[in-house]
Point group: C2
Chain length 270, copies 2
């Protein structure tokens, strides 16, 4: 396979070195954010270290990523350590170091799932189909946004001179260059939502995720069914207070399966 | 102060040893759950290691606790390590070991908050006042439930022969023996909700929190205002699938301040 045939996402999150040891990564500039790389790709690179580790048991069901310091578009090292392996669950600790400093800490839980009673308590909201909506395009937006085909059904910031009274967004998302959905891209997409404060204030301001927890309801079957189709993303905050707000999110397959629920605590200054 | 004068919660989460090093704890049986101690007290004991650490900066804004293995009502060791300290945020890694095994991993983010635009996007639902509701009392319920004054305004499991179509609960909660609210008790109370599957199936079944992330919107001022009064807790799941479900929660002060938002991924078998 030539380098050109590798999807930009896979290029970005490629890790080198012993899969059971320290891994070398470099997200490059393909998913650049305002400062450093898009947080979703950082989270995906951490998860990649788990996915490729020879001791992995089952598939991820939960991940927490703590953004402890600024990250440059430059080489870094990731370490994934299986700290406890049970019969059906496995707990991992993760560290990302850059320039001799810890920049990200994290944890991942993997599990082999079992049959059980199942229920979709929450059902997918009905919104306009992606084909009826324009693709998001803003030359002033960070590079990473061009890696996604984003179509806002509601709550696109920067369009309305009157700030809305709530921060809810409904947005369709898929990789701009088609790539079958997997846990890695699902992880990255769980962070595609602009900071809710942009929407509420209808302005750009300094803001950054401090910690992001992502729960995977998706199984390999769900991923195969979703393929390269759009996912519906929903995000909303509940309280903005003294420099921090929470941001909850969901990702749905187009046929109504809840694939991911996530929450993050976000720093902001306005 | 005699031992009798110490609140059972403070007794439970007391840590001995060098506050900058390994801490020895033993939650005892005062907050016993079905197996081992109530998860909320485990999370609080971990946070205690941060609160008492001489290098702590500011107050907690976020915590993630991963329950990696069973914990016995027996002595354990907690280590809290400040892995990165910035100007206004500080990231901690936590480990709880018992019997030579890692039983819990976690992370805490502390911060010094700054003035900012603020908004309570979500407002507190109106439910019956706690004084008008009976105090939860069930001799078959685990010991820890007796440490709280719980009053269900909706969604109490075990009362209805017909399982409800959603898992939402509204419950007032305060320490049964009055104790002024602090970050430690708030942490514990963020985990007082019975597993949502009990409610949906109207039956008891094996279930346990795998990972719990708690965001503190409360500041010391909020805690002082809440004092020993009831908080309103709300919990709900979104999807139950192949052995796991998510459980989101909120804790509100009685006068309508959102103090905590949290989410957890829960194992279940039914």
């Amino acid at each position: 396979m030539t380098r050109d045939a590798v999807h930009p996402f896979d290029q970005a999150i490629t890790l080198a070195g012993d899969p059971a040891g320290a891994r070398d990564g470099d997200l490059g500039k393909g998913y650049a954010n305002m400062v450093g790389p898009f947080g979703g790709t950082i989270a995906a690179a951490l998860l990649q270290a788990v996915m490729e580790h020879p001791q992995r048991l089952g598939n991820p069901i939960a991940s927490t990523v703590n953004f402890a310091g600024p990250i440059a578009d430059a080489p870094f090292t990731v370490r994934a350590e299986p700290v406890r392996t049970n019969r059906s669950t496995q707990h991992w600790n993760l560290l990302l170091e850059q320039g001799g400093q810890i920049a990200v800490t994290g944890s991942v839980v993997c599990a082999t799932r079992h049959d059980s009673w199942s229920d979709n308590e929450r059902s997918m909201p009905q919104v306009a189909a992606p084909e009826t909506l324009p693709m998001f395009a803003n030359p002033a937006s960070p590079v990473w946004t061009r890696r996604y085909d984003l179509r806002f059904a509601s709550g696109q910031w920067g369009l309305d001179p009157v700030p809305p009274s709530d921060s809810q967004t409904h947005v369709w998302v898929r990789d701009a260059e088609p790539r079958p959905l997997d846990f890695l891209s699902l992880m990255a997409m769980s962070d595609v939502f602009f900071p809710r404060v942009f929407l509420r204030k209808q302005t750009f301001c300094p803001a950054g995720t401090i910690t992001l927890s992502t729960y995977f309801h998706a199984t390999p079957d769900s991923l195969a069914k979703a393929g390269t189709d759009y996912l519906l993303g929903i995000a909303q905050a509940r309280r903005f207070h003294q420099g921090y707000f929470d941001q909850g999110a969901e990702l749905w397959s187009r046929d109504g399966e809840l694939l991911v629920t996530s929450s993050q605590m976000v720093y902001f200054k306005v």
